[in-house]
């Protein structure tokens, strides 16, 4: 192969498969890679050792590796305005980089910004605004008789209509950190990162079953639009509202074209949908179980 490449090689790298999607992360620093190696220790390598997406964590200028190190997020797909993070938040930078590749580059599955849990081969999807508690609910349900399929993205296969798991590290924010730490004291957590652009962040390693069974897709059976901080309530959601909300919750709906339209209208036509308000996690879990039992 041709030589004479200027610039240093990628210093540290890590590869992983999350559900059906392979990633590699290259970094100018060791610490984010070490954190990924620890937290993703039980995950497999990318299929055929060829990742779907590459993420790069790099210093804007060579000396910024050492002086006030700031982590720039790059990769196959980038947003020009993505601001750097301090090195102490390098793990967050890696996770954001992987999410960005999915949001901008995923073309195989209709990507829904939703959490998903499975029971008896059927999947519950939960989507809503940031702070609606979909990550927290998915994490808690994942330890109470459900299999966690993912807290951030649900992948709908346009050919089969099945949802594929994407059980990356669960990203807990602010008050949710304490809620989950108390509810699942024996779980494995990443480092607590304070005062990130998204507030305090701590990553939770999904339960062993979620990782072991991450290649099993499931048939979507119910979609919920949770809203945290209100008295318990629930209402059915009209198909057209579900349609609009799901297009808004998808970063690649437009890019997929007709297969995306077919996948989305199929979900809307076949899935019961409910908006639920809840004051606390326990109340939400009771609502979920009741709705699920009534299916």
């Amino acid at each position: 192969m041709t030589m004479m490449v200027a610039g240093p090689a990628v210093r540290h790298s890590f590869a992983v498969r999350i559900g059906p999607v392979g990633f590699r992360v290259g970094s100018d620093w060791r610490t984010p890679i070490a954190a990924l190696e620890t937290l993703y220790a039980d995950y497999p390598a990318p299929a055929d050792d060829v990742p779907d997406f590459s993420v790069r964590l790099f210093a804007r200028r060579p000396w910024r590796r050492f002086v006030r190190p700031a982590v720039m997020i790059g990769g196959d797909y980038v947003l020009p305005e993505a601001a750097p993070l301090p090195l102490a938040q390098g793990l967050l930078a890696a996770e954001m980089g992987m999410n960005l590749q999915m949001a901008l580059g995923q073309r195989r599955y209709l990507l829904l910004h939703a959490s998903a849990v499975e029971r008896d081969g059927r999947a519950l999807l939960m989507t809503g605004m940031s702070g609606a508690g979909k990550s927290t609910l998915a994490a808690l349900l994942g330890r109470r008789g459900w299999r966690l399929m993912g807290d951030e993205f649900a992948l709908i296969d346009p050919e089969t209509g099945l949802v594929h798991a994407f059980p990356r590290l669960v990203s807990l924010k602010n008050a949710a950190i304490g809620v989950v730490e108390r509810a699942i004291p024996d779980a494995r957590f990443g480092p607590l990162m304070r005062a990130t652009p998204k507030g305090d962040i701590r990553h939770l390693v999904p339960a062993a079953e979620a990782i072991a069974r991450m290649e099993e897709p499931a048939r979507p059976a119910l979609i919920l639009f949770p809203r945290y901080g209100f008295e318990p309530a629930e209402r059915p959601v009209a198909p057209s509202e579900v349609f609009v909300r799901l297009t808004q919750a998808s970063t690649n709906y437009t890019a997929l074209g007709e297969p995306g339209f077919a996948a989305l209208t199929r979900l809307v036509e076949t899935l019961p949908a409910r908006a639920i308000d809840y004051p606390d996690a326990e109340s939400a879990i009771a609502q979920v179980e009741r709705l699920w039992a009534a299916l």
């Binding site: 009209a238 198909p239 057209s240 349609f243 609009v244 297009t247 709906y253 437009t254 074209g257 007709e258 339209f261 077919a262 209208t265 809307v268 036509e269």
Partner: protein, 87 residues
């Protein structure tokens, strides 16, 4: 005289959701979420241009057409969306 023609029917995939209908337009890759009278309007239009009076007359069989100016406004919206071509 201004005439209005619809794009070929095969270019549009239509899924009725409730009061709304989702239209996927194959030639543009754009999804339109529409409500009455758009589906009815597209139904009465043809690939050959029709005049406003003829469209109003055909539509009258489905529901009341209050005035042709309002109809022209709806049609022009569909022109802007690319689903109808004005000649």
């Amino acid at each position: 005289m201004t005439g209005y023609a619809r794009v070929p029917a095969a270019e549009i995939v239509s899924v009725a959701l409730d009061d709304f209908t989702a239209l996927y337009h194959r030639a543009s890759g754009i999804t339109h979420l529409v409500t009455s009278p758009v589906p009815e309007l597209l139904d009465v239009l043809e690939e050959a241009p029709l005049g406003l009076g003829e469209i109003a007359a055909r539509l009258a069989a489905v529901f009341e057409v209050e005035d042709e100016d309002a109809l022209a406004v709806r049609l022009d919206e569909l022109v802007a969306a690319g689903l109808v071509v004005r000649t």
